[in-house]
Amino acid sequence: MPYIPNTDADRAAMLAAIGVERIEDLFHDVPEEVRFPMLELPDPLSELEIQQELLMLSEVSIDLNHTACFLGAGAYRHFIPSVVDQLISRGEFYTAYTPYQPEISQGTLQAIFEYQSMICALTGMEAANASHYDGATAVAEAVITAFNVGRRKRKKAILSPMLHPQYRAVARTYTQGMGLTLIGDDDLSNGVDALAALCDGDTACVIVQNPDFLGQLYSPAEMQTLADAVHGCGALLVVAADPISLGLFAPPGDYGADIVVGEGQPLGNPISFGGPYLGFFACRKRYVRSVAGRIVGETVDTQGRRGFVLALSTREQHIRREKASSNICTNQALCALAAGVYLAAMGKRGLRQVAELCYHKAHYAAAEIAKLPGYEIMGDRPFFKEFVVRCPQPVDKMLRYLLDDWAILGGYELGRDYPELDDGLLVCVTEMNSREKIDELVEALAELGGPRQGGEVS
């Protein structure tokens, strides 16, 4: 039997030591009427067979190596240096568990401490945890943290309508039993000024995304104005950010954010059909005792040597039980390790270079598309790597044509989340998109141009 080393002789010796005759005798506590059901599962396979079968199954899908991908909307294709997977694939990292025993877990603990350090550097914050399940759950935990900071008396969270729709939905799922109201995102015209105006003494936090779901950037000056208004109400400002953008643009810590969260997947983690990802979470040090999740701190051992341990565990479920700040046990340690290796491999200059590549290529694509008759780039804000194209034809039909005839994943259909933007196509361009492929997209879009310039999409 695979992975079970016991031989028949071992089993016989072990049963004799236990004092029973058969393995079945060990299960006498299980009610007889439900004991030993037949499971209808496919027959077991050898490794050779499963490798062949699943290789074939994996090839049924059209993967991003065989398409040009301009689809982002919360999951991004970025370059991952080879060292990342090589290092996180060491069994000493990935077959260990949560570092409960620090004497034999310094590798994981120091790697998390370094990850926290780099997330603080990136966001301009003073503390970071070891990560959450993904960007959406990090946003939900930020709402709960703000709720706890406000001693559970402030019962309102204000969400920007330009916060990722999934982040807003997950925050609602998480808080449905807490008596909180999440408002502000029902009106697309709620910009930062309007969000500031909604803030009052009952508000726990205001959450905005920068760059927002449509890729638009908000200046440090206007964010600082929002932060001042939010703080004036005694609430916290939560900013969700694209970590790659922070290689280039001002960190939220510079403009008054209290909590900075985001989807950490772009940092060295494959796009992997939506997971596993990691949510990064950083905050001002004064809020750290209200934060959920693992946090690693520096300390010394009995001989005064530097070491690392899980810190502030009195916040956590295994100590506080029903009074814990969250039920979360784990982080996404291996994904955070990948993010740490990625950030160190890129370093100070490399991450900026990645961000600049995204910026230049996205602007090239937007400028070329803007030249096409029938197309328009929405808004006049600066943007990072995503932008909205207003299209002359129904977006779903255009996307189908791009895929079927050009093998291009053209972007995200905004009408799925914003009925007001049903002619909007969210296009994402990263360092992975070559000029040649961008030109192909432009050429394909040109074919689809305005009703008078091109043919109707059937």
């Binding site: 992975y3 393995i23 506590d29 439900v34 037949m38 499971l39 599962l41 396979l45 994996s58 899908s61 993967d63 991003l64 689809l71 999951a75 290092l87 694939s89 990292f93 025993q101 310094q106 994981t108 401490f113 350090s117 603080c120 990136l122 399940y133 959406a136 759950t137 999934q166 609602r172 799922t173 449905q176 922070l246 643009f249 796009i271 992997s272 059909f273 939506g274 596993p276 990691l278 701190g297 300390t299 009995t302 341990v309 810190a311 814990a324 046990c329 996404q332 994904c335 290796v341 160190a344 370093g347 100070k348 200059r349 490399g350 991450l351 230049h360 290529k361 600066p382 070559s434 000029r435």
Partner: protein, 484 residues
Amino acid sequence: MTEPLLYEISSPGRRGCRLPQPDVQREELPAGFLRDDLPLPEVSEMDLVRHYVHLSQLNHAVDTGFYPLGSCTMKYNPRVNEAISHLPGFTQLHPLQPPDTVQGALVLLYELQEFLGEISGFPGISLQPAAGAHGEMTGVLIMRKALYDRGETQRNVILVPDSAHGTNPATTTMSGLKVVQIASDAAGNVDLDALRVHLSDQVVGLMLTNPNTLGLFDEQVLEVTRLVHEAGGLVYGDGANLNAMLGICKPADLGFDVMHFNLHKTFGTPHGGGGPGAGPVGVTAELATFLPGPIVVEQEDEESPFLTWHVPEKSIGPVKSFYGNFGVLVRAYTYIRMLGAEGLRRVAENAVLNANYLLSRIRGVYPLPYDRTCMHEFVVEGRIEGAPDVRALDISKRLMDYGFHPPTNYFPLIVPEALMIEPTETESKETLDAFAEALLKIAEEAREDPELLHNAPHTTPLGRLDEVRASHPKTMRLCYTQEC
């Protein structure tokens, strides 16, 4: 043995990765939006590799040695699962691609839903939750919403046995419900009288781990679930200990209404140093409409078989982005296909055999508060006759000197000085014997030279660490950079 921090080996101008120049014209960067400095380390690729290889060498892991951490099921992580999960047809899929372009992935997810349904007896499965605690929250929110949907909005209490994992009460609070603790009886089962006292029309349900955290199968479980149902409540099954139940019984047959699976425990996916795991949730047919989605379904109006996404009608809402920890789900799928029904039953049998054998080797030396046939794990007291100053913590630390990861200690809370030991089915008799010998030797050492234990570990990279210092406001240091 310590390793310098990345920031300490950083030198201005070093690079760990080279990137291409832009192949398009450079666009002017927006003035006033940019950051001044980015304080990340600067290291060469080789320094980076050595740094993380050195760090890895400071870890104990399943790959380096026995890891009997109770309730965590630290079994071997098959390498084929890694190989399959790295196939580009799985890693290079965008979650928002049209369903017809990702049928390979959807087939895998659909079949995994079916497999988990067959193993557990639950017809409704959502693969979305990312971890056990995440699955628990999902399950409790489903129970709450289902009862509220019936109009029973007065129900606001969750019953939790005193042996429960801390996530159970923490989850209850997160879901806006109150916790009432239920005592265990002398045999380690749920105390039926205590349960009856607390059952009422205020109760949403009971959260029960079975086998429980003592490693014992509740002998009255059918009566427990019947009583909760009779009071109009639902029963949540914490699937942490499903490794003992594969092919032994289906949790749905015991009267559970909801259960989460820990794929990183039961189905051999790696723990990753603390994640990513996966915590899918199974429910009865009646509760399936409340599951978080999207889940994979067959499209009915298509001629050829076609799979697509579906969000259940009364869903509690999504609990994370997209569909779950797909890379982990691929590994668990591979594991189930490698083992089949017979293999899974052998997993449970040998996990239980190994635990009972190990228990038989140390019985009489370490006090056993509930002396019954155990399931896949058991709990002894870390107290040794003739060594009154020695505690479970000392025994745990001393085990490291013998090359073993300690058991879970000080849990469950109802056993003083608890040592919770879970050997798993992937360990050999020789390993179990060596571990038992170490525990017996440590008991001798405790009587003869207790200081040896108090000062342990002696052979690890570092000695015991000052945990108070790490959390004290004056000495707390949570990151390297200056501001922290």
